[in-house]
Each structure stands twice: as C-alpha cells, then as structure tokens.
Symmetry: C2
Subunit: 329 residues, 2 copies
C-alpha cells in the first residue's frame, strides 16, 4: 500500500486550497484542471506575469507582500484593458529554504488581496527549484464585448494622462536597498510600501471605456511605456516633467537629489495607468477619475513624429539613454 500523501500535497492543502475556497470551479485544487463558466456577453481578458526573487522582489521582502505584488501586477494588466478580474492560476517554484512560515505568510497576503479585489485561486502547480523562488501568475478577467482598452489607438493631438503618482516604486526600491540615506523615515516607509504593494487601478480602467483612445499600465518606466503607446500609434509623444505627479515622499527625495527625477520618469514598478484621450474629453477623464476615486494628471500629448521628448522642469530637453527597465539584460 502506498504512502497516501507526499509532501507537496500537504503543502498545497494547507496553504493554497483555502485560497481556492471562493472559486467553486477550482474544484478544491483536486482535479487536473479548473472549470470556469465565462460570463455571458463578455470577452475574456488574460495576462501572465512572472517574478523572480532578487529580480522582481527583494529576497527579504515580507512574504505577505510578495504574493500580493504578484497578484497586483497582473491585476494592473487587467486595469489597463478596462477589465474586471474573475480568478487566477499560479505556479510556484520554491527553494528548499522556503519554509512553512514563509508559505503561510505568502498565502495570507494573497487571501487579503483576493478579498480586496474579488478574485480567487483557480489552480496551478507547485515545484521545487535549485535557484531563486520563481512565481508565475495568470490572471483571467472579463470586459464588455468590444470594450477593451487597447494600446494602439492614440491620435495626433490627444492628451497624455497618468494616474496616481510616478516614481514611488523605483525610489522605494532605492530606499529599501539603502541608497537614499538622506530620506526621512516617513518617506522611506511610504516609498517602500509603494514598491512592495502597487495599487492596480481597476476602477479607473473600468471607467475609461469610451473616453481613452489608448491605455497601458506603467511597469517598465513612464518614458519607455509612453514610447510604446506612441509607437503603436505611429506617433511621437511629449512629456512635461513639471506636470508629472510626484508623491510628497518622492518630492522630498528629488529635493535632496534632483537627479532622482530622471529615475522617477524611467524607473518602472509604478503600475499606474498611462492613457491617451482627445483634448475635448478632458472633463470626461476627470469625471471618470472622480468616480474611480483615483487622481489623474495631464502630462503631455501625442504629436506627429516619433520617440518620446521630455521637457525638464528647467524647460530644457531631458535626455534618456534608455527609457525604462529591461527584463533581459
């Protein structure tokens, strides 16, 4: 007679099965696959993101925040399409050092965000690795048929908008790794929290249908991602650095070291929405943002030509040798 349950089944039962309790189609993670009856009249929206310890999160980040960040960067992709989450699948490659306490905290964080964003675990896989902890998550959402926001619809003359504040994630990483020595404790905590827990702008994305002509989330750096929107439309873009919204914590960091403004504009890990809208829809954009309870700011516009041209706070062009974060060096 066989040993009934090898180690990973106990691990899955203890930590991951409770995350599937709210998604009946997950079949308690006990089948080969999950079932999902798609909502009628809706288009499914699907995205997948991976995170590697030491690359996308710090190995000593609180495990509670690591799962939440993984889920949130995926939710941010749904937000960028104007979609609403339905559920997710997750694979985890764990190292021998990843103990039960780590997994418990990791899963508690996910449970918290599942409740916050209304989506549950549908399935996945748990394997071991000799390398760093590597996590992959596939999010499934839905949007009204024909209602998805796309990257490629910006038109010449459209205004360029961004949600929230830019640069906090990149400065947060610097703060957490001891490279912003002059920063106050309060600013350090604020920026670190923004690096660890991005805020997917689902409500704003859902409100921008029929208003925004193009949209994406800022994950690789504002300048680079605006470049994606511009290139997809065969246009250029202009950004006024003075108009880019900075948090009070980021302003403190930039005041102490003005070179950090460029870092804010290119550092990535913002997970804000950047989008295009006709100038005459400015009031509609602001009304949508009010309904979504998210701040938005007009930071520039789309123009004929190519590339992203950034005007610095001194009125002179700001050079960017690389607009953002490259995943493959």
């Amino acid at each position: 007679m066989t040993d009934p349950e090898p180690a990973e089944f106990a691990l899955i039962a203890r930590h991951f099965r409770p995350l599937a309790a709210s998604t009946p189609g997950a079949l308690a993670l006990s089948d080969d696959a999950a079932l999902l009856d798609p909502p009628a009249g809706r288009t499914l929206v699907l995205a997948a993101d991976a995170m590697v310890a030491g690359v996308h999160f710090l190995p000593d980040d609180p495990p509670e925040t690591i799962g939440r960040k993984l889920l949130r960067v995926n939710l941010s992709d749904l937000a960028a399409m104007g979609a609403t989450p339905l559920g997710y699948l997750m694979t985890t490659a764990l190292s021998r050092e990843t103990g039960d306490a780590w997994l418990g905290a990791f899963s508690r964080g996910l449970a918290e965000d599942q409740a916050l964003y209304g989506c549950g675990l549908l399935g996945g896989d748990t394997v071991s690795t000799t390398g760093p902890v590597t996590l992959s998550l596939t999010i499934i959402g839905s949007v009204a048929e024909g209602g998805a926001l796309r990257r490629n619809g910006a038109r010449e003359g459209d205004a360029l908008w961004v949600s929230g504040t830019i640069g906090d994630g990149a400065l947060g990483l610097l703060a957490l790794t001891g490279r912003l020595a002059a920063l106050s404790d309060g600013a350090r905590a604020t920026l670190g929290a923004r690096y660890r827990l991005p805020q997917p702008r689902l409500s704003l994305g859902a409100e921008l249908g029929g208003i925004a002509t193009a949209c994406m989330d800022v994950s690789d750096g504002l300048v680079q991602d605006v470049g994606h929107l511009a290139r997809a439309a065969g246009l250029g873009a202009e950004i006024e650095a003075a108009d880019v919204p900075l948090s009070e914590a980021a302003k403190e960091a930039v005041a102490a070291d003005p070179s950090l403004l460029a870092r804010c504009l290119s550092g990535g890990d913002d997970y804000e929405l950047v989008f295009a809208a006709p100038e005459e829809k400015a009031d509609a954009v602001i009304a949508a943002a009010v309904r979504a309870r998210v701040a938005v700011r007009r930071i520039g516009r789309f123009v004929a030509g190519q590339g992203v041209h950034v005007t610095g706070t001194d009125g002179a062009p700001m050079p960017f040798s690389r607009g953002g974060w490259s995943h493959v060096a």
Copy 2:
C-alpha cells in the same frame, strides 16, 4: 529621445510573436493582456504547470522538445478533463546562458505542436533569472457544459483502465542519464523520446464523456495517481502488474533488470490517462479508444477500503513505500 526597443522586446518579437499569429486575441503580444471570446455553451477548462531545468527536463535536452513538453503536459491536463484546447499563456525565466539559438529552437518546437494540437500563444512574460531556466504555462480549453471528466466519481466495482504504455517516461529519464547501460540503442531512443515528448491523449479524453466515471492523467506515477482517484472516491484500488501495458522498449529494460517494473509503476512522466468505468461499459471504453486511435487496457478495479494494492507478476503483493514522484522534497 529614448532608445526605442530594449532587448526583451526584440527577443519577444523574433521568437514569440510568430507563435501568437494564429490567435488574433493575442493582439500580437503588444498589449497588456490578451482577449478571448469564449465559445458559446462551453465551460472553460484551465490548468497551469511549471518546469525547471534540471528538475523537469534535462538542461541538455534539445530545446525543440522542451517547449513541446511544457505544452504537452498542460494539454494532458485538458485531456484528463475531456477538454479541447483553445490557447495558452507562457512565462519564461531565462538565464544569461539562454541564447538566441536556444530560444529559436524552443520556439520552433512550440510552433510544431501548436499546429499539431490546434492552439496558439495568447500572451505571457519573459524575465531573467540567476537560477535554472524556469518555464510556466497556463492552458485554456473548453468542454461541453457539464461534460468535464472529474477525478472523484469512481464507484466500488468500477474497472480501472489506462491508456498507452506505462513507465516509458521514467525509464527514458534513466536511459538519458546513463543509468540503463545494457539497453539496446533502439530501446534507448524510444524511451528517451517518450520522456522528452509525452503524447497528450486529447482524443481519448474527449471520447470518454458519459463512459468514464473518473479520470486523470498519470504524471506523478501510476500507483500514486490511482491512489488519488481512489481517495477522491473514498475507495481503495487493486492493480494487476501483469496487466499494466509496457512498451517493447520497457519490456526489454525490465527483462534485463526486473526491479525496473516497480519503477515503471511509480516513476511518473507517463501522461497517459488512467480512468474508472463500470464493468458493463467495457465495450464502450474499447469503442471510444478505437475512435480515438489510442490503445487502452484494463489493469484493475476499485474496491471498498483504502490504498492501492498492487499484485506483482508472481502473484505476490508488490510493496511501494511511495507511489510516485514528489515535487517538493
């Protein structure tokens, strides 16, 4: 003005975008997420599996087969539910040693299997890792509403069936790593190919609706996986080792070393279907297998009690301290 395209965008454009050409909802991998209009009246079936170099495939396996194996182990999960594939998302964590030639071969293999199984790339993410290459794939399929095969429906007295041949994958791994020195070259090639390229039994799974009472794919070892079916039904199971179908290559290996029979029954990496069906449906099972062009064999039955009891070819009980492969040591 910014550098227009960092390295991973060129890489994605060259290797992965062609894989998305057959899935219009993939939006040429240029948006934050993919769109998929689910087929009307069908339930979606979703599964995710991860593979780590050195754990789930050999670092020197031909890259053509690595992507195919990743896709096929996921397709095997669909087969186990009786589902038909729609598309997939994939995340790849690549090491610095993973060059352009490797990725080209990896993608060519995937393209071949996409054509074979009728499903295309929908989206994903490409990141770098300091550890072994780590791949994760989420498959999306569909099945008629209410038609999914489940693991938990076996009834006392049901016959236990398996498709294809068992043990080739496990012996293939031994052969590829030089641990079956006495094997003929032909048998070595056959077993190695079965380890590297499992055959997802999609056609059989699709034919078993209304016939099988429970089904899953054999990924962790026959004895362990039969244990899952039995436990899910609150039953035990009996397997006659003499009835378990072995390939000619596996028979050659077992003849040279009879202890390898236990390895065949517990080694995993089979990706065959194991399923329960009422004894009176034996003819229907065989007819389904003929339509699917896959061999099936009755290897035992479900009984009151618990655990999996294996009778060896000598008529004596075969002990298994652990019925299969554990992902987390």
